[in-house]
Point group: none
Chain length 177, copies 4
């Protein structure tokens, strides 16, 4: 089935709620099932520090390979900072941007550049950057996935052109499987 | 079922194999050298108050020469405020803008107006201003360099047209050699 | 009529005579030397990523040795984030605290716990924590020094008791020579 | 007449309104007099940059005399930054504190240390530091007065003990008459 990019975004945002019963406060459902069995917990996956370190290491290596100096941040499944490094000589202003890119990528489970396409003037997500204490919606933020496809975090890279930033972030994310 | 470009990007990121190594941050380089010698410090340069004062003085003189009233801020190599003056009658709103221009110029080691060219709608750095607690990306922020070219700080000027702001900031930065 | 101590203090401040001189900032010193030589730059030192990585590694090892889970942040000489790791299972709330401890230690060039002794009710620095976007003044932040004693950054650790936090931070700082 | 410190503070805060008619919205009064004469403007005084420069210069000289390194800020009658300098080697954390001290002194037209006496636990202004984006209520902030006693701004100094901070701030304020 073809779906437009715009609808896809909407669809993805609704994905988590797709199986939820309409206007049903969670405890109501749990209460109804109380005699049968307790409400079930969510089994989740999260990035480990070893994985975050591997992503950072791969990103630093890619950065050196293409002769750039980068700020590199990794957030976990909750969008919280897990690891960060600023290479010697990398921009000070990229400390915050790298973290915001990582957070933005995890907040919406897509590459930051994809959000930027939708946040232009006239676009459906115009000025979304004002939310969440400041988002960054140009390339350089990439979700990190576990082997089964579960998103377990994200990496954000800043310090060069947005193309280079994305290349380095993608290399970092690819180090995790 | 077709998978969207978005999902394909995510899939491509999972292509490469990687093995996580324990606490795999870039200090591995330092660790490898540990038995030989300790990790080396960076020898750097920073703007002195005498230099910052000379930059402010040159900026004030240029501002009077072109008949403007300016707020003038100087930050050091770390982006921290070193000196500030607001000329009599200069805009109150420029207190913050002058400081943000100085910081922005140092954060990315370029004139603020250059960043502004890239942060327009459709540009690669659209809405970068939302980062770092608020950037200013129109002209008036200029890096300050030592005689050997090392960036040791930046000056930010606000209070007139952006052309005048830049002229005054450039005059301030040029006072340092 | 008695004037209160408060008003007397104000009156005393008006006792000395002074004549304002045009743009009377400290660059006058630089100005006086202008014909002889330009104002001099400060030669400084800054922490390298290799050093920051070595500090993080030593802190993680100490943390495991004493059976704790820590958030560990390193800032450079300008107080800007250089490296950060959150050990698996470490408190989310310590992400910010570790960074604030590192920044606080560098902002005042002393262990954070020393500041905390002075910021208690009735103490000389009571409520200093309201400055700088939020300081942390209990133990766990320690300056990092180069071999010659120059402060080149700081490390902040949070995740356990303040005694343990300090122990781990001190181990991290001690890894740099 | 003796008045307690606490009542004095209250009295000072009410001073500006002492001659105003009780519960009388300003336009009501103006409207009643409209046929006779227009409502009168307030004649005010404000610190000039020359004066701010003189205060900074005197503060720097006093700081050197007592062998300290200070951050020095001057705000105008509106509490807005007029001038700032950070002496070489002065604490980074004092950039914000010096400005907050100056602003606090002008916001309440008294030395910051006087407010600190009232903001202790159990005191009448407990936790006033939470207001106005963060106040600093220990010594080092001093109002600046014109020759006729009008408060035209304030100076805030941070970088050493609070006693030294106050000494330097007082020297700066005394340079203005």
């Amino acid at each position: 089935m073809h779906r437009s990019k715009l609808l896809l975004v909407g669809g993805m945002l609704l994905g988590a709620a797709a199986t939820a019963v309409y206007v049903n406060l969670p405890e109501t459902n749990a209460m109804a099932q109380a005699s049968a069995k307790p409400a079930e917990v969510i089994s989740s996956k999260d990035i480990s520090l070893d994985q975050a370190g591997a992503a950072v290491k791969a990103a630093v290596e890619k950065s050196k390979e293409i002769n750039t100096k980068m700020d590199i941040a990794v957030v976990d499944a909750g969008g919280n900072l897990k690891a960060f490094v600023r290479m010697d000589g990398a921009w000070l202003g990229s400390i915050d941007i790298a973290q915001k890119k990582a957070r933005t990528a995890r907040y919406f489970d897509m590459n930051t550049g994809e959000i930027g396409k939708l946040s232009q003037p006239g676009g459906p997500l115009y000025n979304i950057e004002h939310s969440n204490g400041g988002l960054i919606t140009f390339p350089g933020g990439v979700p990190i996935k576990a082997a089964d496809g579960t998103i377990i975090g994200a990496i954000g890279v800043s310090g060069s052109t947005v193309e280079n930033d994305h290349t380095v972030a993608a290399a970092g994310a690819a180090a995790i499987k």
